[in-house]
């Protein structure tokens, strides 16, 4: 059992390169699906960039794009909270990433509904629940992003336990 208090998370930058600097090229989605699935298939990406162009043009939205990225929520995350299976959603012992254990997951998809950032997806093709695993600490989306909007951040959290 280890105790850690730092979680790694992919985030839209604050400060120099803001989330509003995202140009919505979907390169992050492309490289994510390419890394995970060996082919560019945006539907299987673990990060999602959604356009609000029409709403923005009409003055109904101040944001042109919205990011759907897993926040690796500190403490007991909402997805962990709703998961009916013990230890099906766990934290990575080094990175603090929230991970789904595919062998335990029953595909009930409660976590998808519970996620406040809408960052968990169900892959119909392979019958799997998918989410960002930070590529084991070296997130490809961060590397691929050409405007430095995405970056890897370490955030402090309450100490968490892991098996």
């Amino acid at each position: 059992v280890s105790t850690r208090s730092v979680i790694s998370v992919v985030r839209g930058r604050t400060g120099a390169g803001k989330e509003t600097d995202c140009m919505r090229c979907m390169g992050c989605e492309a490289i994510c699906s390419f890394t995970k699935e060996g082919e560019v298939n945006l539907g299987l990406s673990r990060i999602k960039i959604e356009p609000n162009e029409l709403e923005w043009m009409e003055g109904k939205s101040s944001k042109i794009v919205t990011h759907r990225i897993c926040h690796q929520c500190p403490g007991v995350s909402p997805c962990m909270k709703v998961c009916p299976v013990p230890y099906a959603i766990i934290r990575h012992s080094e990175l603090g990433t929230v991970l789904i254990d595919d062998s335990k997951c029953t595909r009930c998809q409660l976590c998808i509904k519970a996620c406040p950032f809408k960052a968990i997806w169900y892959d119909k093709r392979r019958d799997e629940v998918i989410k960002c695993d930070l590529c084991g600490g070296d997130p490809q989306c961060v590397k691929w992003c050409s405007v430095n909007v995405l970056h890897l951040e370490k955030i402090r959290s309450e100490p968490y336990f892991n098996e």
Partner: protein, 657 residues
Amino acid sequence: MSEWCGWAGKILRIDLTKEKIVETSLTKELAYNFLGGRGFNIKTLWDEIRPGIDPLSPENVLCFGVGPLVGTIVSLCCRFNVSAKSPETGILGDSNSGGFWGPELKFAGYDQVVITGKASKPTYLYINDDQIELRDASHVWGKNVPETEKIILKEVGDKNAKIASIGVAGENLVRIACVMVDIFRAAAWTGMGDVMGSKNLKALVVRGTNGVKVAMTKKLEELARLDRDRLMKNEFIQNQIGHLGTPLISDMTSEQGLLSWKGDTDVLLPEEIKSISGETYFKNYYVQLKGCFNCPVHCARYFEIKDGPFAGVRGSTGEFETIWLCGAHCGNLNLPSILKINNLCNEYGMNTISVGAAISLAIELYQAGIVTKKETKGTELEWGDYGTIIELIHKIAHREDFGNMLAEGHYNMARILGKEAERLCVHVKGLHRSSFWFMNYAWGLSLATSTRGADHLRGSMDTLMRPDICQKKWRSTDIADPFRTIGKGFMVPWGQQEFTLADCLGRCKCGVNMWEIACPMAGDAEDVVGEGRAATVSAATGLVMTPRDLEMVAERVYNLERAFIVREGITRKHDMPPWKTFNVPIPRGQLKGTIATEDAYDEMLDEYYKHMSWDLKTGIPTRSKLEDLELKYVADELEKNAPYPEWLGPPLHSEIA
């Protein structure tokens, strides 16, 4: 499952008259010989369009094609080509756009959509993976592009569907109407929106959930990373074009002394363009960057006008061409008004370049007394009067009053107005480019010989004119001098070949090729042989391609395009720049007094034709050349039916002509 890599392996054929949808397999012969996108399209047009048809008749064939790299991990590969016989020029209609529509078509599993016939009522095509439907579009007929997208997105219930549609202009058969994609992007040139309108086809809605398979995943990833790293480390691309976008070209062109002002009567000097410069745009109106699919260059922007008469206008792009043609060319240096015009054209679905060209020619002719209040229905046309320009844009889209004539496009308008107007009309094969650009011989020859008419996106010369590149490729720096004819006859074919390949593969030209050597993809930026590109195509498709193989494809496509326009009556004389080039010298600036000569163009055309193996007198590709390119059937047909009736332009609307 299909065994295709890179290509999706399927072609969709839609007969609108019979409401028939047929899915066919991509043949190896088509894929290997024509690669994709522009290549597939010209093959279809050659095979299926009879010479001399009215582009607005149901006989016209409209193709949407994507290349084998579209939707792969290779950056900047998001382009698709729309082709048909052009109602604006009456020859090859071919237009290209980025955004997300192209990749989505690939994700749905298609390399090309071929549309024939004419629907009996307004229709839109819905492609949802392999579920294809023709749906009623009566409720969106009469609506502009953003509203159409909004209604259709709601209807199909999928925010991720991508839409290529036309606005009111296309419905009203405005010849300069374009196909709009993702609200802001346009496949603008040659009036492809008009062809959609003539077929009662409002939109193509695509949703795809499959991936694009590639042959060598690891290898392609490695090459794609090399390519992307180079783009991301390039200072000019990231900090200049990726920052200020194409409005920066206003600054560059005026520094070269070639930014035309008030039609082709004058030029703007660098100190005179402050109000429309890239910096001004960025400082006052920029909101956020906008990129196409998987693009690290991000040359487009979202803008917002915060104050003044156009306060509250929000939109995207507002490229150099728009600022130049709808601004400077019309004598208008008010940037907010240009951005407003940009939005209006996007909403109506009209090509800003052709709109600017038509209006500026009208103003010039009005000032010269050739157009009078009788034609304009009482409207006075003054340089820089943006209120009138905006009013005219509404009228063009609805074909009202004088707008009805402008809607024919600048060249056709000149044809209606008579000989003197035709003389002053600056065009090659019906498309507009400033007459001053022809004085730069590298650019000029490229514009003059382009297969879809005067066009900067069929062969960019800026990089090729770099002395270091010329030294590397031809062991001579003399060729780099744009005001000498030397070497232009083989420099231009190279530029055109690179751009043809980019269009066939689905790679963006604007992001890279205008600033760096064309479409290198992996390898260094000065890879004049194209080895990186050949390796990338091979890794994606699994087909071993050498740089020479790709060159052959480009030549095949270009020669077939040439044959297509020869069949429509194009000969050597149509490869000559317009009258003004030889008669109106550059009036001011560093190039003051510069003028091109017909002798120089004759000399360059000879050299160009020789290099291309085209007949020196007629400009028709020779049999031996065509046979080398496995285009024997083309040589047979040209031989059998030549000479063709001379090209004049598309048949005009009877009510005005």
